[in-house]
Amino acid sequence: MKEKQGPLEQAVSNDYKYGFVTDIDTDTIAKGLNEDVIRLISHKKNEPEWMLEWRLKAYAYWLKMVEPDWANVKYPIIDYQDIIYYAAPKPKKQLNSLDEVDPELLSTFEKLGISLSEQKRLTGVAVDVVMDSVSIATSFKEQLAEIGVIFCSISEAIQLHPELVRKHLGSVVPMTDNYFAALNSAVFTDGSFCYIPKGVRCPMELSTYFRINTENAGQFERTLIVAEDESYVSYLEGCTAPMRDENQLHAAVVELIAMEKAEIKYSTVQNWYPGDKEGKGGIYNFVTKRGICKGDHSKISWTQVETGSAITWKYPSVILKGDYSIGEFYSVAFTNNHQQADTGTKMMHLGKNTRSRIVAKGISAGHSQNSYRGLVRASKQAINARNYSQCDSLLLGDKCGAHTFPYIEVKNKTAIVEHEATTSKIGEDQLFYCRQRGIDPEAAVALIVNGFAKEVMNQLPMEFAIEAQKLLTISMEGSVG
């Protein structure tokens, strides 16, 4: 049965423009997961013994765990033996500079709008690029090293800075934390490592770009950011994947550590392949992101613009341990067609006078389901803890759903927790008002949605705010111009 499409439906039917596959030799291992596979990954990455032991321990935990089913998402059972756990573009020789990167890879990232060579020259953004299981290149490394900032792939960090990695890895998200975190701890392949020494304000945005290319491969990235006392860093990640009929698994772990008076700003523009209009294919994005404000007066701020993935399961959280520490979560989650998103945050107030702020904006179109799930917890010691949460949902059409699941646990009488929530619909009235002024339906929906998401978009670093706005617009457009 063919449904009649109104202007709203037409305006939000999109095409994914990052869905191409790069034809490149890839070193892949056989499908399946067992101890030998983990040994093989560790061997391929030339890891020290302690790292392998850590992985095996995580794997042993994982075997005993059960997949969580509490999220408001539905998907068929994942066969973990049907996934490739390691895939790396060949030839993998040691690169001395970006000029030595395979031209095919460079052009892949050019197509994605990530020009490595140009980035190097023109803009003040350092980029680490991860394709499937390995980091391909990191720009600006030397310039950053001069001021003591370490920015490299996690694989490289394990080799060159084992003491830092060993100290912090798993300290915020323990390997036993949850099913996907345990799996990631066992099989993680690459990701970024950032270390900002005491008193340093990182002079440029650090950024990692993740790309899944190989069929049937899962991506298990691991990112660790440590900001020592009185340091500052702004970090951004972006991601895309080819269009495939099969679902692909992406299970990442991100850990942030902010010491005294340190500030970490972490922004995500997530654009994994969302599946086609009938809901076939797409990435399962099961991610554990958590930061700890370890020192007093520290601050961690998460900003995310989520437009991709068939299923999103992620709750970037902050443990507010230091007194006077601040946690923030700004989110725009856009779902279309048959996408499902269950996303939100956890703010765990432990220290005195800690503050947190949550602004979550969910936009649902098509047949998608969009849920906000958030926990605000104030412990007994968290004297004068403050939280403000605002969750707004915007519905485009009448076949989609928006849900809000706020959890509040307060064990301290001095804590103040505020929660506001709204749900609205793009009305035919708003659309007609725009059209009567000469604005076509696509542009009108983009205008309305961007207006709705503005408060969150304003939190993104300048360089990426415009990109994110475009992405949001493209995700809704009927034709990509």
């Binding site: 109104g6 035919e428 708003q430 007609f432 009567q436 002024r437 205008l447 207006g451």
Partner: protein, 252 residues
């Protein structure tokens, strides 16, 4: 400029317009009056192209084009402007950005380059004076938290910015105090020119104290039952609608 011939229109299956005929020439000001439920706002919506309104018969030509064939946005770009009875709020979208998008869409349609920020602001400053609108209002989200008067003034301001060929004012006077009414009417009068036409839809005569119509039409039960000059409006004010509607056969 606008030629309406025997228009019939339904809303949710119910016939509201039952054969409207109207000719408007450039430079003319027409007023359509009528009691509540007579079809005044339906006529405005049909002309602007609102989708819930189904035209079942008749034709409309606007600047020698078949108006009913055009999408609502193309009608606007061709120069048809509707000042809404209930202007719509769009949170997070500033009035300035909204109008800029509208102005540039229209320019694009006519093969013109988009206005840069400097020229746009210059034009905006000029037009702001016309309707005595405050800068601070324009940086706020469009219509959000605006008073009734501010919303209507904002409509007239948008009209000034878009410079339409035909402006349809749907009950622009409703909910305005006397000062706001004067400002809005002044704005309309200043925009009036030999190239432009205005169609004023109103329930009361009082707006016509400020805007001089060339013709007045009375709409009743989906038809224009009487047309005349400004004197007709005064007569209506004095005698009420009954003196016209009493003689009309509803089943004709």
């Amino acid at each position: 400029m606008l030629s309406i011939k025997n228009i019939h229109a339904n809303v949710e299956g119910k016939e509201i317009l039952k054969g409207i005929n109207l000719e408007i020439k450039a430079g003319e000001v027409h007023a359509i009056m009528g009691p509540n439920g007579s079809g005044k706002s339906t006529l405005a919506s049909v002309l602007a192209g609102r989708e819930q309104y189904e035209v079942t018969a008749g034709e409309v030509s606007f600047l020698d084009k078949d108006l009913l064939e055009l999408s609502p946005e193309d009608r606007a770009r061709e120069g048809l402007f509707l000042a809404f009875q209930y202007p719509v709020e769009i949170p997070g979208v500033s009035t300035t950005n909204f109008i800029k998008a509208a102005v540039n869409e229209k320019r694009k349609y006519h093969g013109l380059e988009p206005l840069d920020s400097v020229s746009f602001l210059k034009i905006m400053k000029e037009k702001m004076k016309l309707v005595e609108i405050d800068q601070s209002l324009l940086s706020r989200s469009i219509n959000e938290g605006f008073s009734g008067g501010e919303k209507k003034r904002n409509e007239i301001f948008q009209m000034a910015m878009l410079e339409p060929k035909l402006a349809i004012l749907d009950e622009t006077d409703s909910g305005l105090d006397i000062d706001a009414l004067r400002i809005v009417a002044n704005g309309i009068n200043k925009l009036h020119s030999p190239e432009r036409a205005v169609l004023v839809i109103t329930h009361y005569q009082r707006l016509l104290d400020y805007i001089q119509p060339d013709y007045v039409h009375v709409l009743y039960n989906g038809r224009i039952v009487k047309s005349g000059t400004k004197e007709l409006a005064l007569e209506l004010e004095e005698k009420g609608y009954d003196f016209i509607t009493e003689g009309v056969d509803l089943n004709a």
